[in-house]
Every structure is written in structure tokens, then in C-alpha cells.
């Protein structure tokens, strides 16, 4: 399992592997929205929590189809299915690798984008905290969606359609944490719910995803 994680990370960091592109996309959303919406500081400050979370979500989404599709195309997934590692483990490790190269990376750069979006100072801590608590759910739910669409040629867009509604609760609670945090209000409840969704998804969805992959391979 460890070697699978190492390989996936290595692939992500090699040329064309996609590391940094999720980040770049997050950055671009944070740049484009002010361009589209206009430069007014107060409006931006108000929408910053929501837009930053939507941006993180879209950035996650864009790299989802790499999770399994590449291994499916070159036959690695067949070979992994006949290997001693259980498919649930494969899914979990691949979701973890995805989180490390997107979710974690997004979380770490998010304060910079908070500045671009004029986020009130009190919100920065909660932005990082909510992303840390919420992005693992994004990766696991995404891995489930990727598992459903692994047999479909260029399933990327179908994947978006399937996964985005599943992201709704995470998005709402995540953005709510940041919004309340920025206003200095109490954030306990949404943060707890966010963590709950993450815990539940991480515990259960790998099984559903592994089942979907087995169905798609046959």
C-alpha cells in the first residue's frame, strides 16, 4: 500500500503529472472572479468565503478523473485488481494521494487567495481549518465518482455532474464555517458537521467505490 502511495505521488510530481495544476486552477478562480465581479472590496469580502470554497471544490474536481482513468487505460488497474492488495485499500490510498496533492496543497495556499479575495482577517484561521476538515471528504467523494465513471471514455464531465451534487453538504458547511468565522460568530456546529461528513465519507465510501470499480472492470 505504501508503495502504491509513493508511486502515485511520484507520478503526480513528474512531468505532466498534474501536481500544481489544481493549485493553479484555484488561483485562477480567485483571480477571475474579482475580474468578473468587479473590484469593490466590500462585495468581495462578503462573497470571499463562498467563492474560495467553490474554487477549492472546482480545483479538486478537475483532477478527479486522473485518480483511476490513467490506471484503467494502461491496464494497471486490472493488474492491481489481481494483486494481493484489496480494492478498498487501492481506493483509499489513491484518494489519500489525491488529497495530498490537491486538498492539502489548496489548504496551504488558501491564505494567499484569501488576501486576493479581501477576506476579513478573522476568517483566515477558519478558512484553513475548514479546508483541512472538509477537503478529505472532497477527495473521497471524488474517488467514488471516479470509480463510477472509470469505464466511460472521457468521463470527466459526467464525473463532474455526478460528483457536484454530492459535494453540496460539504460546501455549505465549509463556507458557513468561514463566513461565521470571518464575522467572529460561533463556528462549532458547522465545523462539527463538516468533520462528521468527512469521517463518514472516509469510513464508508471506499467500499462503494471498490464495488463500482469491480463492476467496471468486468
Amino acid at each position: 500500500m505504501m508503495s502504491l502511495l509513493v508511486r502515485d505521488l511520484r507520478l503526480a510530481f513528474r512531468a505532466g503529472g498534474g501536481f500544481g495544476l489544481g493549485l493553479a486552477f484555484f488561483l485562477l478562480v480567485a483571480v477571475l472572479v474579482p475580474l468578473g465581479v468587479g473590484p469593490e472590496g466590500s462585495t468581495l469580502a462578503k462573497i470571499a468565503p463562498g467563492i474560495l470554497w467553490v474554487g477549492a471544490l472546482l480545483a479538486c474536481l478537475l483532477s478527479l478523473d486522473r485518480i483511476f482513468a490513467l490506471d484503467f487505460e494502461d491496464g494497471s488497474l486490472d493488474l492491481l485488481a489481481t494483486s494481493p492488495i484489496p480494492m478498498e485499500g487501492v481506493v483509499a490510498v489513491k484518494a489519500l494521494a489525491h488529497w495530498l496533492v490537491t486538498g492539502l496543497a489548496l489548504t496551504l495556499v488558501s491564505p494567499v487567495l484569501g488576501v486576493l479575495m479581501n477576506l476579513p482577517p478573522a476568517g483566515f484561521f477558519w478558512l484553513v481549518a475548514s479546508l483541512l476538515a472538509g477537503t478529505p471528504a472532497l477527495s473521497v467523494i471524488g474517488a467514488f465518482g471516479a470509480a463510477l465513471t472509470v469505464g466511460v471514455k472521457r468521463g470527466g464531465l459526467l464525473l463532474s455532474l455526478l460528483v457536484l451534487p454530492l459535494y453540496v453538504p460539504t460546501l455549505i458547511f465549509g463556507a458557513e464555517v468561514v463566513k461565521r468565522g470571518a464575522q467572529g460568530a460561533e463556528v462549532g456546529t458547522p465545523l462539527l458537521l463538516l468533520a462528521g461528513i468527512t469521517a463518514g465519507s472516509v469510513a464508508l465510501l471506499p467500499f462503494a467505490a471498490a464495488a463500482a470499480i469491480r463492476v467496471n472492470l468486468r
Partner: protein, 243 residues
């Protein structure tokens, strides 16, 4: 005789061939009666004016939009557990019907909201939850369309339906948490208590609800028959190619 016999395609085809005209006829009658009654023969509300007539479309379609998803969930579970092809195909057949009902609820709600709330659309939790439900329907249908092998598609969509149901419920709570909302609470089921809906509206509403239920059943039966035939057609063509 076990209820599972109807999961046999042949048995299903026979029974549904017999039942379909009756259900369809009843649906047409009750919908016709209910809607005509509701549209022509009900008085205007003192507060909402003639817009109250929208209720006869809005409430039944909203209820059936949810019930259709529940039916798909049950059918998906039956498929996953007992692997009866008819139930997988029934779930597939129900999805476009559910989507249409969701769309009707949204459209009538929007036309109602314009005079009542002064806006076509508000991010009210119930409305938002419905929009998300429509997205789940879209994703479910798209997955059926995208996967070629019918058994694979049945398995994948069943799993999606289960996971999606959990997240749809979660979304409902999340959305409620996020915004308290304008939309009135459900009163239709509280008849016994204070009877808040005047009988002048209540009776035609019941007829319309019955009509929508029957319409749903009729459409699902007819569409399931089509899906079964399509499945068999595909198999026969494949056999022809191989032979």
C-alpha cells in the same frame, strides 16, 4: 404465490399489459377531473387571489418528485440484493418521470413565487433542495446513458442511487441549516388537526394527487415495458451477430 413472480419479465409483461390501460385510463380521468375542477371551479383565495389554483399542480408534482426517487431507491436495492432485471429497468424507467415532476414543481413554484414573494426564485431551503434533487436525477440518467453494458449500468446506477440518497438527505439538512426560508411548512398531512386548507381546495387537491400517483404508475409501467423490450431487442441483435 410470491410477489417476486412479478420480477419475472414474462409475468410482468402479461400483468402490466392487462393493468396498463386501466391505470392509464384512471390517471387520465382523475387528472382531467382534478385539474378542471381546480382550474375552473375553485374560488380565489382572499390573500393569494387566483394563484392558489397553482396548488393543484404544484403540490402533487412536488410530492411525486420525492416519491419517485424513493421508488427508484427501493428498486435499486431489490436489484442489488435479488438481481431481478425488471426492478433495475423499472428504476431506469422512473427516472425521467421523476425528473419531469421535479421540473413541474420547480416551474409552478417559480410562477407562484413571482406574485407571492416578488421573485421567480429565492434560495429557500425547500426550493434549493428540489434543485439539488433535479441534479441527482440528471446525474442518474446521464450515468445510465453513458455506460454501455446494461448490467454494469444497473449496478453502477444502483450504487449511485444509494449513495445519492444519503447525500440528498444530508443536503436537505445542510440547506435548512444554511437558510431558514420563505416556503410554508407542509400542512397537507395535518388534516386531522386544525384543517388549515379549506375544503373547497382540499377535495380537488386530493383528486389531483391521486391523478399524479396514477400517472406515475402508468408511465413507469409503460416505460418499464419499453425498457424490457429494448433489453431483449439488444440481446437478440447481439445473438444474431454472433450466430
Amino acid at each position: 404465490m410470491s410477489i417476486w413472480e412479478y420480477a419475472n419479465p414474462k409475468k410482468f409483461m402479461q400483468t402490466s399489459a392487462w393493468a396498463l390501460p386501466w391505470v392509464a385510463g384512471l390517471a387520465a380521468v382523475s387528472l382531467g377531473v382534478g385539474l378542471v375542477w381546480g382550474f375552473f371551479l375553485t374560488p380565489d383565495d382572499y390573500k393569494q387571489g387566483s394563484t392558489v389554483k397553482i396548488i393543484f399542480l404544484h403540490v402533487p408534482s412536488a410530492m411525486m418528485a420525492i416519491n419517485a426517487w424513493v421508488m427508484m431507491l427501493v428498486a435499486s436495492l431489490i436489484w442489488l440484493i435479488r438481481r431481478h432485471h425488471v426492478s433495475a429497468l423499472a428504476a431506469k424507467a422512473a427516472a425521467p418521470v421523476g425528473l419531469t415532476f421535479t421540473a413541474i414543481a420547480l416551474v409552478t413554484g417559480a410562477f407562484w413565487g413571482q406574485p407571492m414573494w416578488g421573485t421567480w426564485w429565492a434560495w429557500d431551503p425547500r426550493l434549493t433542495a428540489f434543485l439539488i434533487l433535479a441534479l441527482f436525477y440528471l446525474g442518474y440518467i446521464a450515468l445510465w446513458e453513458a455506460v454501455e453494458n446494461p448490467d454494469t449500468a444497473a449496478d453502477l446506477t444502483a450504487v449511485l442511487c444509494m449513495v445519492g440518497s444519503v447525500f440528498a438527505v444530508l443536503s436537505r439538512y445542510a440547506v435548512k441549516f444554511w437558510n431558514q426560508g420563505l416556503h410554508q411548512d407542509s400542512t397537507i398531512m395535518k388534516v386531522g388537526e386544525k384543517d388549515p386548507i379549506a375544503p373547497a381546495y382540499y377535495l380537488p387537491l386530493i383528486v389531483c394527487i391521486a391523478g399524479f400517483v396514477l400517472l406515475f404508475v402508468a408511465l413507469v409501467l409503460a416505460r418499464t415495458r419499453t425498457e424490457i423490450r429494448a433489453r431483449r431487442l439488444q440481446a437478440l441483435l447481439a445473438r444474431e451477430r454472433l450466430a
